[in-house]
C-alpha cells in the first residue's frame, strides 16, 4: 500500500507499507529507507510504536484523510492519502487563489460582541472585521483578503461555531 503524508501545503512524504507475516509492518520512505515497525494500540487511545527498536508513545486519530498526531515533540494535523484518494482530490480541486467572493470563517466557537464592518466597506488583509468573545477574552477576527465586504452573516450576541461563515469579502474589486 502506498500512502502520501502531507505536512501543511508543500511538504509531502511518500511511504510504502507492507504488512509482515506474523504481525508488524515494513515501511519504505521516498528515499528507499526501510523501517521495521511494531505498533500496539493501548487502552485509552494512545499507541506504542517501535520503529527499528526505538520506542515512541503516540496518539494518532483520524477523520477521513486528516489525522491528528501527537508525539512527545509535536501535535500536528497531517493529511494521509492513498494513490487513488490523491488522484480523486486532484481532479476535484478548484483554484481558490483567484479573485471572487471569499468567506471569512470563525476559527473558534464564541459569541459575536461587535461587528466592525458593513457591506460595501473596503478591507485589506489583516483589517479587523468583528470581535468574537470566547472564554471571557475578546478576539478580533481579521480579513483574509483585500476587497470589499459584500455580506455580514452574523450579528452581535449571536453564538458562532468553528468554521462558521462570518463575513463575505469580494476579492475581485481590489485585486491591485
Amino acid at each position: 500500500m502506498k500512502y502520501h503524508v502531507k505536512f501543511g501545503e508543500e511538504d509531502t512524504m511518500p511511504f510504502e507499507l507492507t504488512e509482515l507475516e506474523g504481525g508488524g509492518f515494513e515501511l519504505r520512505d521516498g528515499e528507499g529507507r526501510k523501517y521495521t515497525v511494531d505498533a500496539v494500540r493501548l487502552p485509552g487511545g494512545a499507541s506504542s510504536i517501535l520503529v527499528d527498536g526505538r520506542s515512541h508513545r503516540v496518539v494518532a486519530r483520524g477523520e477521513g484523510s486528516d489525522i491528528d498526531v501527537q508525539t512527545e515533540r509535536e501535535s500536528v494535523r497531517v493529511r494521509v492519502e492513498t494513490d487513488r484518494e490523491r488522484a480523486v482530490r486532484r481532479t476535484r480541486r478548484q483554484s481558490s487563489s483567484e479573485s471572487g467572493p471569499r468567506s471569512v470563517v470563525s476559527q473558534m466557537a464564541g459569541i459575536v460582541v461587535r461587528v466592525l464592518v458593513e457591506p460595501g466597506a473596503p478591507v485589506n488583509v489583516g483589517d479587523p472585521l468583528l470581535v468574537v468573545e470566547a472564554m471571557k477574552m475578546e478576539n478580533e477576527v481579521r480579513s483574509t483578503a483585500n476587497g470589499t465586504v459584500t455580506k455580514v452573516h452574523v450579528e452581535p450576541k449571536q453564538t458562532v461555531s468553528v468554521g462558521e461563515q462570518l463575513v463575505t469579502v469580494d476579492a475581485a474589486e481590489a485585486s491591485s
Partner: protein, 507 residues
Amino acid sequence: MFRKILVANRGEIAVRIIRACRELGIPSVAVFSEADREALHVQLADEAYCIGPPSPPESYLKIPAYLELAQSIGVDGVHPGYGFLAENAEFAGACESAGVRFIGPSSRAIAAMGDKLEARRGAERLGVPLIPGTLGESLSAEEIDAQARSIGFPVMLKAVGGGGGKGMRIVERAEDVRSAFETATSEARTAFGNGEVYLEKCLTSARHVEVQIARDSHGNSVHFYERECSVQRRHQKLIEEAPAAISGDLRDRMTEAALRIADGIEYESLGTVEFLVAGDDFYFLEMNTRLQVEHPVTEMITGIDLVKLQIAIAAGQPLGIEQDAIPMLGHAVEARICAEDPQADFFPSTGEVSSLHLPGGSGVRVDTDLRVGYAVTLYYDPLVAKVVAHAETRTAALDKMSAALRELQIAGIRTTRDVLRRVVEDDEFRNDGYDTSYLARFLARDADTTDDESRRLTAIAAVLESHRAHRRDGLSLGASDGGAAVETESAWIREGRSRAMRGSFGS
C-alpha cells in the same frame, strides 16, 4: 475549625481545595453546573449540588444560590478559589452577613484592593512606589486621550475592577487610544460589570514579580518570597517560577513593601502583591486578594500548603510560623496547559479529550481535573492543567519540566503543551534573563523547530493510523493503490492477517 466547607468553584482549583479539606478532615461540598456533572471535583467532594445551567452567570456566579445552599446544608465556610467570585466584595459581604465565613479577606479589603485606583492611592499613602499614571476616577475617552499624551506612549489601559489580563490594553500610538478605550471598556464591563478604566505608563523591558504574603486575624504576617511571572501573552501568564532572579536586597525591599501593604489595610488571609521590576527598582501594580493560580511554585520551594494555611487563617487560627522558619529550597516552575491553539494565534480550542497521559515522578506535580471524555467548552477558563516541576537548581527544574511536558499527552483538543516546552528549552529563556517582552519575541522567532526524525515519526504514526482506518472500514485496497496482491490472495490468508492486526494494532 470548620464544620463543612462549600467550594464555590470548578476545575482544577476546586479539586485542589477539596483535597485540602479531605486532608484536614473537613467535609466538603462541591457545586456544579449542568455541564460539569461528570467533573472530578464533584466526585471528590463529600456532597455535591447542581446550581444551574452551564453559563457562569446562571451557575458559578450566582450569589443567592450559594447562600441558600450553604444555609440549608449547614455550611460554615465558603472557599471561592480564583476567578468567578473570588474577588467579589459583594459575595464576601453576603457571606459575612449570612454568618458563613468567606475563606479569604474581608469584603472591605477586597473592595479596597479590587478598586485598582483606590489600591494605587492606598499604596501611595503607605509609601510604596507606583508606576506613573492616573489616580482619578471615571475618566472619559477624551481625558484618557489627553493623559496618555502627557504621560507618553506606550501606555496601558486597565480596568478599575479588573485582573487577569481582562479589560487591559497596551496602546502604542495616539491614534489607537480611542479604539483601545472602547475595547477595554467593553471587555471590563462584560467581565467585571464595571467599564471604568485607568491609565498607567507602560514600562517596557520590565519584569512581573509578585510577593506571596499571609496575615492572620491576630496581626501576625509573613511572606513566602516571590514568584517570577514575566512569561506572559496578552497579560496572561503562561509560565511562573519561584524564586525570581533578583538580588537579596531587592527581595528584602519588595517583601517588606508587600507586608507594609498587608499590615496597612489590616489584611486577613492569603494574598499576593504584584510588582513591576525594572532594573533595581520596583513599582506596585496591584494586590490580588485571593489564592493565585500559580501558588504551587511557592508551595514547592517552601514546603508549605498555602490552601490549608488559608483555611486555618479563616478559622481564626494564628499563623503559627515564624518568618525565619520559612525555607526557600531549590527552584520550582509551573507551566499552564491551556486549551488554546498556538498555531492559530492562541484561539480557544474546544473539544473532547480523547486520550490522556499525565507525567509524574519525583518533583513533578500536576494539578488538573482532566480525564478522558472531558469536554472543553467555551463557558469556562481555558486553563486545563498546571504542570509543576521542582528541583535543586533552576536548570534542573527546567530540565524536569521539559521531560514532563514531553511525557504529557492530551489528545482531542489543542493545547499550549508544545510551545511551553520550547520555551523552557529555549536558550534565551534559560540563560539570558527575561522580561515581559520575552514571549512575544520568542513566538516571533519560534519557527518550525521540528527535525527530520521527529517529522518521520509523525508521518509513520499517521500512515499506521490511516492504514488501520482503511482496514477497519473494509475499503477495497484496489489495484490502483498497488493492492492487487491483496485482492488476489486467498480469503484464508487475509482473514489470518486481519486477525493478526487486531491483535497487534486492533481497534
